[in-house]
């Protein structure tokens, strides 16, 4: 139970709270990510790896929330942190339902380590891979509150972190262009159609 709680705690945290926590992680020079990882390893002059990797000497830290080259990476890291535990919990639940006879039989036949994973676990949990992929695609496209608060209710510098739903909300409800907002919503229909087809195909396979 305590380990499961650690896995599920990120998904229990509301995205708006998560945005504030990650503001401390991504905050300029004193943010956790820069202070613990980027500056010690990749600083142009003082980093362990920076000079070796040819990083320019003027490089000091990454401005995760302002540099348009890194804004989306920050969004991805936030989403990764939020969903990894939940997906692990789903796999844990699905693995618990696999009959142990199958695993014992495989071990008797000589399956070990990676072979056991590749030939037994992966095929039996294939539907969880597909389910998780579809669920995460839906969450990614429908993502709103995390990016909305982290980037100050906008898409960030040069709209590098602009999400579809943020754009829809701004067009329709902040600036009053309801027609444009409806068009944005309808333009997502082909994607949902593909996801529905993928889901039904998974059902039949």
């Amino acid at each position: 139970m305590p380990l499961s709680l650690i896995f599920v705690l990120p998904i229990l945290t509301p995205p708006s709270v998560l945005a504030w926590i990650f503001l401390m992680v991504f905050h300029g020079k004193e943010g956790l990510l820069n202070a613990w990882l980027v500056i010690p390893f990749f600083h142009g002059q003082q980093g362990w790896l920076g000079p070796w990797l040819g990083v320019p000497e003027t490089f000091q830290y990454i401005n995760w929330l302002k540099d348009p080259n890194f804004i989306m990476s920050a969004m991805v890291m936030q989403s990764l942190w939020r969903w990894t535990g939940m997906v692990a919990f789903l796999f844990h639940c699905a693995w618990a339902s696999v009959p142990r006879d199958v695993i014992h039989a495989a071990k008797l036949d000589g399956a070990t380590g990676f072979g056991l994973y590749r030939h037994i676990m992966a095929p039996l949990l294939k539907h969880i891979f597909v389910f998780s992929a579809i669920m995460l695609v839906i969450d990614g496209v429908a993502s709103f509150s995390g990016a909305y608060f982290l980037l100050g209710q906008s898409g960030g510098t040069a709209n590098a972190g602009l999400m579809v739903v943020t754009h829809l909300y701004n067009q329709g409800f902040r600036w009053g262009y309801l027609g444009d907002a409806c068009a944005i919503a309808i333009s997502l229909m082909p994607l949902w159609g593909l996801l529905i087809i993928a889901s039904m195909s998974m059902k039949r396979s």
Partner: protein
Amino acid sequence: MLCSSFKQNHELFKPDQLLPSSWDFFAWKLLWQGELLDWGLGLWNAIFLSFGQTLLAAALGFAFAFHIHFSHGVKKSIQTLLAVTAVLMPVQVMAIPLVNIAQKLNLYDHQLSVLLAGSASGLGVLYFIQAFKRIPQALLDAAVIDGASHRHLFVMFFHESKAHVLGFLLLHFMLSWHAHLLPLLLLHTEQQLPLPLSMRSLLDSSLQFPRAVLMAASILLISPPLAFFLLGYKSLKLSLTAVLTDPDG
């Protein structure tokens, strides 16, 4: 987050300082006084909205799944497809029609609009369809032979699926607790807003504002879903284990 609720502003962005310099409850006192944020009302609104949506979604999902379970052929396929579509179509895409409908029903800026919009969930239908597959067909046949009506079968299904109902209640509660867009669009008055939206005013505050208050409010915000998760963990795990087993649907 807990340690940050005791820190001053200048300590918050010091990555090498995990613990606060002093364990002062200033932020908690400020929050308790309710001057910066009416956290009690916000928390109550959040619990009411999440619980309401969850109970309605569970009731609707259970009823539709029960109906689909006894359907056959093309009708069953169409109904299942509609449920899948409802799951895959996020509410964000339906945001504008939902606001229009709420306005036409005179439910704009009313919590009932959020309850109704949030309860229309295809997830419950699919979840309970999978759960009902666990009920032995022999049990159903014996009940029908003994003269059980549809109502009796409904009650029997509920008794057999109690763990799944509890698991779904927990899952949907967590999902609706995090839902941000619907209350943002459909609610306007400060007294109606759930706590995550009420906290927006703190997020937009100046740098002089003690951010520890935000951290303290965040801990309050996580507490209900955390408590329900701890209470319903076994049911959730049991239910997910059963639901995720059969790849058919």
